[in-house]
Symmetry: C2
Subunit: 167 residues, 2 copies
Amino acid sequence: MASTPSSLSAVQLRAYFALTEVAGLLKHAVEQQLRDVGDLSWVQFQLLARLGLDSATGSERMTDLADGVVYSRSGLTYQAGLLEKAGLVTRAPSADDDRGVTVSITGAGRDRLATVMPGHVEVIRRQLFEPLSAKDTDALADLLVPVRDHMRAAPPRSATPRRRRES
Amino acid sequence: MASTPSSLSAVQLRAYFALTEVAGLLKHAVEQQLRDVGDLSWVQFQLLARLGLDSATGSERMTDLADGVVYSRSGLTYQAGLLEKAGLVTRAPSADDDRGVTVSITGAGRDRLATVMPGHVEVIRRQLFEPLSAKDTDALADLLVPVRDHMRAAPPRSATPRRRRES
DNA sequence: TATTGTTATACTCTATAACTATA
DNA sequence: TATAGTTATAGAGTATAACAATA
């Protein structure tokens, strides 16, 4: 209930800075590996991984992808175009909704993912998990998963421009 | 001792994805606030914060800044140039080493930081810390600080191009 | 010879706004 | 009228390589 203080506690600052630094360094290391081994950017990898690993069908609609990866629509169109040109995904009109576009990972896309994964995993393990015990890893996941869900719930949604309640 | 497996455990994946998503969403939200309120990019804010909050003197050398923020030299030169043009920092030859350049935050720089901080803190609190208890926050910091130190220790240093051991 | 920092350059990424087509 | 996606465009950020100056 107490009114929110206007600065963070020392512990909060430690946690915040550590989080951003870890994420930044990790992203940097991963990007280098992805670029070297698979000629993929971080975002492109995320899109492929979502299609090839998370999705059961290997397909998703543009809007869902944009939401998932935190992206503007046009940005996603751009990246999807690159991936399509590289033969890693295809785009086709959605079956149910003629406005929609369904993106699907191709065989070549899965191959590329397979090419990249071992080194990717290796980087993550060395950089992120080496200093963490199994118990630590568990704890970390249990802390961060609720935070992610909380962030996703209160949506600074990236895609759609808000516009409502003009009186 | 066991040879490293070629994929991550389910828990590791959960932790890894949650970490990157949280960091990504957080950065996104913060960037918007910084841009709206203080006309600062994420990196520019990090540089100012490092000078104004972390450093006792308000000054640091270019190389140290580049290392701290994970940055190429030329990228830092570019950003430092922007900050200088905006009057938020100054650059002067280092006292001890004539090759070096010392960057110092100005009064205007500290003002800008002060302008931006309340909203910044608010975003962090709402997005990141709202779902975390004090104990959770403690635990998170204790988990991530060692990881950060580990990453910094095994340096995929960004700045200097490696070149050594050519036989 | 190695290091510090800048410059020139080229490229990638991202967002905004305008537009088309379908619901 | 609202939503899905694309296009055009313009700007910011980043890295690489070549360079000058100092250690």
